[in-house]
Symmetry: C2
Subunit: 353 residues, 2 copies
Amino acid sequence: MHLKIAVLPGDGIGPEISVQGVDVMSAICKKFGHTVEYEYGVVGAVAIDHVGDPFPPETLQLCKNSDAVLFSAVGDPRFDNDPNAKVRPEQGLLAMRKQLGLYANIRPVETFKCLLHKSPLRPEIVDGADFICIRELTGGMYFGEKYEDNDRAYDTNHYTRKEVERILRVAYDYAMRRRKHLTVVDKANVLASSRLWRKVAQEMEKEYPEVTTDYMYVDNAAMRMIQDPRFFDVMVTENTFGDILTDEGSVISGSMGLLPSASTGESTPVFEPIHGSWPQAKGLNIANPLAQILSVAMLMEYFDCRAEGALIREAVNASLSAGVATPDITGNKGRQFSTSDVGAWIVDYINLK
Amino acid sequence: MHLKIAVLPGDGIGPEISVQGVDVMSAICKKFGHTVEYEYGVVGAVAIDHVGDPFPPETLQLCKNSDAVLFSAVGDPRFDNDPNAKVRPEQGLLAMRKQLGLYANIRPVETFKCLLHKSPLRPEIVDGADFICIRELTGGMYFGEKYEDNDRAYDTNHYTRKEVERILRVAYDYAMRRRKHLTVVDKANVLASSRLWRKVAQEMEKEYPEVTTDYMYVDNAAMRMIQDPRFFDVMVTENTFGDILTDEGSVISGSMGLLPSASTGESTPVFEPIHGSWPQAKGLNIANPLAQILSVAMLMEYFDCRAEGALIREAVNASLSAGVATPDITGNKGRQFSTSDVGAWIVDYINLK
Ligand SMILES: CC(C)[C@H](C(=O)O)[C@@H](O)C(=O)O
Ligand SMILES: CC(C)[C@H](C(=O)O)[C@@H](O)C(=O)O
């Protein structure tokens, strides 16, 4: 196979972890006889600084001409506390999602045995939790009509049947390949948009008789995820609720720095770590590259390269078992490994296999 | 003092726990030489069944003519999975909030030492957590313009400066009386409504130089609350985010069945347990009455009756220490106590003091 990869390192620690992702990608492709070419694009604050646009047309074009996007992170505190900023790095992310039609954000929540002690939850509650959050990513309040003046402001949480159908389809397909349990999260007791979601889901349910579908209010889901995370297999929800719940989910595993995600839809899929740009750590070579590296595994699996994905996962597990890990995991105890140490170790592991 | 209390038992376990709240209220008033009169009203499913309206005008009038409302819970599964239901019990709650102008929902999150083992969080993380979530309750998406047909639907998340100002005022007042740390939760990197919140907060911050104000995105807050709940002192946020975060907060303490809340604003304040109507337990005399009883403590404290509130809290702690508790707490181990057993024990404690 030949792969054209658009690499978007973005802001903060993005460039550092991006390098590790690319190195692992090259190693795995070489090992399995694939060829890969990379082209780099700007996004986020770095793109604002260079061309005044957080997702410039050249980056869009680059993405469209590629088979997949390897993305890192955007965000810069310079923009955060300035309510009057006209452009923001995050708009680059939103523009990318919208312009590539990335309506499905897929976030596996997995626990790693050797990291369970990092979870804020009791081990007996979280051990074995293994679910997927599917967040609708191009609709809802983030993209609905907005208005803002000095005295009032609003956002519109808008969904069409088509938008709801296609994301539920993705969710049912995942459920069919997993434990056949889908939880549709909404607030149908209050929101009109949620009632549309529930109506469409109740219709679609009949097409998947093997799948157990249940419906849960978002406030209840936020509780259940902490009280009993093993309850979930596949969870699907709209954009804003998904933003909150996927982040809540990521933290319970104790493996936040290790969780990748995929965003798929109408055009080129994007693979990225779920953590942000961590501006405070920029340039320090201390950020954990594993989420970026595991997003390469998701990328390979997307193209049905299962053995490739499996080898990356094996290498990641081996590095953890060997204690070759960044300070977020080792807690500054024992030998210290940098971002590039960990990446290099994994590349070696793959090469030597 | 003479108090006129509107009692709204509502649905499910509401009536059972309401009785206990009223008994405790009577005991405490007698002890401290206050007089109290009760009048009962319907709300929720029971009101739909009786008069076709989940918050009928007579109930509104009753509330307006009272000094405080002692509310229990609404909700009935008959309405939940029917996306076409025209009236819903929850609309009663929303109507009550709107018509009484209850814009501030105040939810203390407290841990009880003897219940820490019930928390899904590790004790070393949650022990000592003690914060207040303040949720805006009459604005935002719940009340904004809505539309729904077979092909699309929307809700509008609308806020005015005035709505934001008054709830932030409440939050700052709480912060001043506590550890002087306010966290304003929003999604200002994406939502116009959030930017209005942040703008207003940044202006108001200057009036409270003693208070440390920080700003946190809602996804981040959902994580932080689990990773480090002791970080928070007072947290304030808009209606929908507050719905999710207050419920998340309630579960981390392990004391969900014990948490009361107050909703205050332009007219009569309402005091209620945070848990719902638990329809499955209706009539079984097993529901925990402590949240309802502690909402009586909040009620007394609202009227500056601190000793009264303190005695109720003391009685509740004593009942827990004595193991006089419902199955949600005892875990079906040891002697079993019913809803009414626990209520009666607390009344006795107060009488004998
Ligand atoms: C940066 C922000 C716009 C973004 C979002 O909320 O979608 C981020 O929080 C995420 O979850 O990817
Ligand atoms: C029943 C529902 C409308 C209500 C809400 O979301 O406001 C409830 O969840 C609550 O938090 O009091």
